[in-house]
Structure formats: C-alpha cells, structure tokens
Symmetry: C4
Subunit: 192 residues, 4 copies
C-alpha cells in the first residue's frame, strides 16, 4: 500500500482544522478599533493553535519522507492523531473566549497531551512496520523532543490549577522547542 | 480514465465531513468543568461518527488499491456514496443533541444503511467494469462483512422503536466488526 | 505548466462547496418525525445542487483528461467557473428555505446560467490554447449539450415569473440531460 | 524534500479560505429582490477577496513551477503566508458588513500588507535555498510588482483615514496590476 492517500487525507484534515479555527474570530458589530479588543485573547489563541497545527503538519511531512509503506494499523494510528487534532478548534475557542481561565487551559493542555501521545503511537506503529534498522527507527528511535514535550504538557496541566498562566507559558515553550526545525530527518537523509 | 482525481475528491469530501462534525461541539458559555457535561452525548456521537467515516475512508483506500480504471458510472456510484456520507454530520448532530431518543437514532441508522447500500453499489459497479476475474471481484465477490453490516443496520432501525439503546449498541457492533482490518485486500495483493 | 495543481485546487473547492451546502440542513429542535417536515424543501434543494456540483465535477474530470497544458488564462477561466459554483450554497439555501418562491428560483437559475457560461468560456480558453486540431477542440467543438442547457436556463428564469415550478422542472431537466454520461470524451479517447 | 505536499496543503488551505468567505453571504429572510440589497457590499467584498485569493493561488502556482526543493524554513515561510491569508475571511466580513467604514478598510489593508510581506519573505527564503543563479532568483530577483503593491497598500492604509474609498480604489488597483498575468515565470521557462 502506498502512502500518498494517507498524506493527501491528512493534508486535507489539517488544512480544514487550521482554517476552521479562524471562524472563531467572529465579526465584531461595531466599526471602531475598540470593538476589536475583546477579540485579542481569541486571536492570540488562534495564533498559538495555528503554530501547533503548523508544527504537526511540518513534523508529519518530515516523518513521511522516511516512510516507505503503510498498512491498516498505520492508517488507524494516523486517524487517531487526526481525531485529537480535530479537537483543537474546540479547545482553542473555549480557551480564547474565556480569557485563559483554569479549566479551559487545562482542557487545551489535555488535547495537546493526547495529540502528542497519538503522535508517539503513530511513530511506534511506523517503526514496527519498517523494522528497527529502518530510517524511521533511526530518526525517531529515542525521540527525546517528544518525551520532553509530553512531560511539559503534564506539568502544564497540573500547574494550571495554581495559575493558568504557567500552563500558557508551557504551551508557548513547547511550540518554541518544535519551531526549531527537526534536524533528525534531514540528518538521516544526508547520511544515506 | 485514471482514478487519482476520484481519490483526491473523495479524500477532500471525507476530510471535510469529518471536520465539520466537530463544529457541533459548540463552545460552552461557562468555564467550569460542569458546563462540559451537556456536551458528553454530542462528543460520544462525534467519536462514533469519526470512527465510521474513518472506516469508510480506510475501506475506500483499501479497495482503490485494486482498482485499475474508472468510468462515468463509477464516478456517479462514488458520488452517491459521498452523498449519504455527507448526511453524517446532520444525523450525528440530531442524535447527539437529543440524548439518543428514538427518531434521531432511527435516522442515524437510516443514513448508515443507505451509505452501506451505496458502498455495495460502488463495489458492484467496479466489479462490472473490471470483470469477474479481476482482483476487485475476487476480493469483494462474497462481501460477507458488508451483508452482515446491512442486516445489523436493518435490525438496529427496527429495534430502536423498542429501545434506542439497542440501536446504539448495534452501531457500535458494526464499527467494531469493521475496525478489525479488512484482510481481504491484503490477501489478494499477497496472493499475486 | 502542468495541470495537476489546477485539478487539485478545483477538487478542493468543489469538495468544500458540496459539503458546505449540507450545513443548511440545520439540526431540528424537536425529536419527532414531524420536526423534519420543514426540512424537506431544504433537503430537496440540497439533492438538486449536490447533483449539479457532481455533474460539474464529472464534466471537469472528463474534460481535463484531454487537456495537455494550462496557462494563466486557463487558470483564471477556471477560477471564474469556481466563483459561480461557490454561489451554489447561497442560492440553494435561499431557494430551499423559501419554498421555491419566485425570486429565489430566478436567482438559482441565474447562478446556474452564469456557471454554464463560465464553463463555456473555460472550454473556449482551452481550445484556443490547444488549437483547433486538438482532442479538446474535437470533443467540445460543437457543444450542443452546453448550448441547449444555456437556452433552458434562460427559459427557466423567464418562465419562473409565471410559475416557479416551471423553473424547477427545467433545472431537473438539465440535470437529467447531463446525468447521462458525456460520451464525447470517451469517444475521442477511443478513436485514438 | 519534495514540494508536492507543500503544494497540496497550500491548495487545501486556499480552497477552504475562498469557500469560507462565501458563508458571510447569509441567507436573507425575505424572498423579494429588495432583501438582497443589504448583501451588495458583502458581495462586492467577497468578489474582491475571491480575486485576491485567486491571485495568490495563481502566483503561488507559477512560482512553484520554478522551485526544485523545499526545506524547513520554506515550509514555515509558506505557513506564515497562509496565516495572513487565513485572516482574509475575517477582514472581508468586517469590511463588507460595515459599508466600507474607516477602520474595517484599514484592517483589510493591513491584512493585505502583511500577506504581501509574507509572500516576499517566502520568495527570499526560496531564493536563499536555490542560490542566486537559480530560476527562482532570476524570475523574482527585482520583484518590481511586489514592491509597488506593498507601497500602494501602505498608501491605501494611510489615505483611508481621509476617505475609505481611496483605500478601496487602491485595493482594486493592486488586484488589476496582478490580474495581468505574471509573465516573468513564463519568460524564464521559455528562455531555457
């Protein structure tokens, strides 16, 4: 089975998720600059989630370069990842409309955490299919970045009960970690 | 005529269907955990429908591996399937917002039933085009799984008038049957 | 310039148009079968427009089989077609929610008419690029079906002022004419 | 890394942006022709933004013809462009619903300006990757059109405080400049 439809379907879902989130930026009723002020937290949440979906798309794109084949398990592991990503618009809207209160921030972190676990499962499923000597296994074998992110998410969720701003700070931190390009794939390709 | 645009268009429609369903998860107005409680049945319906669309995409993807060519009839049989799948968001929302009452559950089953019949028609149209000796015919000749599913849908619709929970149970059962990977295609490919 | 991105972009837009229309089927507030009755005209409009978008996608798919190259003019002629098709959801919703009253039916016909003219312009632009001896020119040289459709739309719009049901009948008639597969392309391919 | 997924993802996002904008054309409640009058400024804004997204897609399509490879920086520069384009529906709706008052027109210009800067950054990132002797560098080296557009946007934003119609005129002017096909790419291809 070839991977092109899995890529096309994932691209489609991610493109829609990223664009649906912008619908939360509801047209304000006035025309003064002041009517935009209540939209600022909604907008900031949108920016954060846009970057997160961008990171997932970017990483998905990088990883798929090393993938030679897919099977039924990979298709489902990928759908599982898309499921959690599809909850980003909901989590983003709830957080943005409520000025970063505790539970919405916790929920946002929960969706992030589940997405990162789903990504981990997808990586493991791909390594299982390709074998321990494959490029995927070599590039993602240790996955330090992924493990650190997951740890930060757990910390963010717990510390949000003290102050939701610690949670927000953690989410920005993880985004920053991943924004730095993932050199593992490029190294693996270069080493061949 | 080649099959790539049929795949791309189907991927697009399925990606949008799966993502539109999540829009039913309306942002709650409060920020306490309790405000999420009314969303639970909506969320459960979303999960069920997500899995169903995932199954259809998965099966479509598997089947298209064996397809060598398409014609006008196949394009229309595929559009017919997409039509019934496009009603999933409506059926899902009606069922989820009404705590699984009788008619919404019956309607959900009706859409499922029509989609399964549309899939059956698509399979027959493909077999007619490729001939009885083709890979598609060999893999889908008997289609026991498809027939059982259709039977369960009919049973689910009828028994929902006694209790809608029997219907719900049947829908979960069919999802479970299909979740187990469709080994027919992989066997056919392996036998070559 | 190759045609694959034009196909991909058109597939994307058509997939979204076809799926957005279903959002007009708003979830009813009750759970009885009777609450679905007001949705019947909305549903019938959806079915009609789904078939129309299906026909356009089908014809676009057929025509693109004969296209060897594209240029800037073709890209814009294609975008012009997509523009009018993008008004289908609006025209469909207005007609469906108003029980086929005069002006909504006229507007629906107007959008149909403009889309058919846009398709005609796209065909001419493609023929100009490929030359009079090309496959596109041979297959679409006379375009009897296209001219008849355009004529019926004009008649439908005018006669809707007498009774909007004449208009509706005409729209169904044109759909029926096009539903019969377009054998011109298949003949042209077969003749080679 | 190959460019096909970047193209597919961009096509997806642009297709959704262009189609989401039409959702602002809300179904009017009456059935007379008069009920459409309040929609005219919304419709005109839609036409303008449709043309703008069309221009961006067209230019993106042209430019990608000359691109041989992509890297992480290009993926992010492209996402950055898509981010600003994703704000088109919001800016379009705000402007269209408020009869072209000052701040909405300024905001529209601001989004346009940011998108043009993002496009410029994408071009530079691609030139950096391909080298000064590459086709991309030759075709986009001076980028007079891009610089003029950016200048007009700045002028439009400032002059909108005198009269928002100067701003609108400028936006139409830039659209007209770009509507004329971008011959640079075709020349570069022809020269090879």
């Amino acid at each position: 089975m070839n991977k092109s439809r899995l890529e096309a379907f994932s691209d489609g879902v991610l493109a829609i998720i990223i664009t649906i989130m912008v619908l939360e930026l509801k047209t304000p009723h006035g025309t003064s600059l002041r009517t935009l002020i209540p939209l600022i937290p909604v907008f900031m949440s949108y920016v954060l989630s846009f970057i997160y979906v961008g990171i997932y798309w970017n990483n998905h794109h990088h990883m798929m370069q090393l993938v030679k084949k897919v099977n039924g398990s990979v298709l489902w592991a990928n759908l599982h990842l898309l499921f959690w990503l599809s909850l980003f618009p909901f989590a983003t809207a709830w957080m943005g409309e409520n000025h970063y209160e505790t539970w919405p921030v916790v929920m946002y972190g929960g969706v992030m955490l589940m997405a990162s676990i789903a990504y981990y499962i997808l990586v493991r499923t791909l390594i299982k299919l390709h074998g321990q000597e494959s490029d995927v296994a070599k590039a993602y074998g240790k996955d330090v970045k992924g493990k650190i992110s997951t740890g930060i998410y757990v910390f963010a969720i717990l510390s949000s009960f003290i102050s939701s701003w610690i949670g927000i700070f953690c989410y920005i931190l993880v985004a920053a970690i991943w924004f730095i390009p993932d050199t593992r794939v490029e190294k693996t390709i270069a080493n061949e």
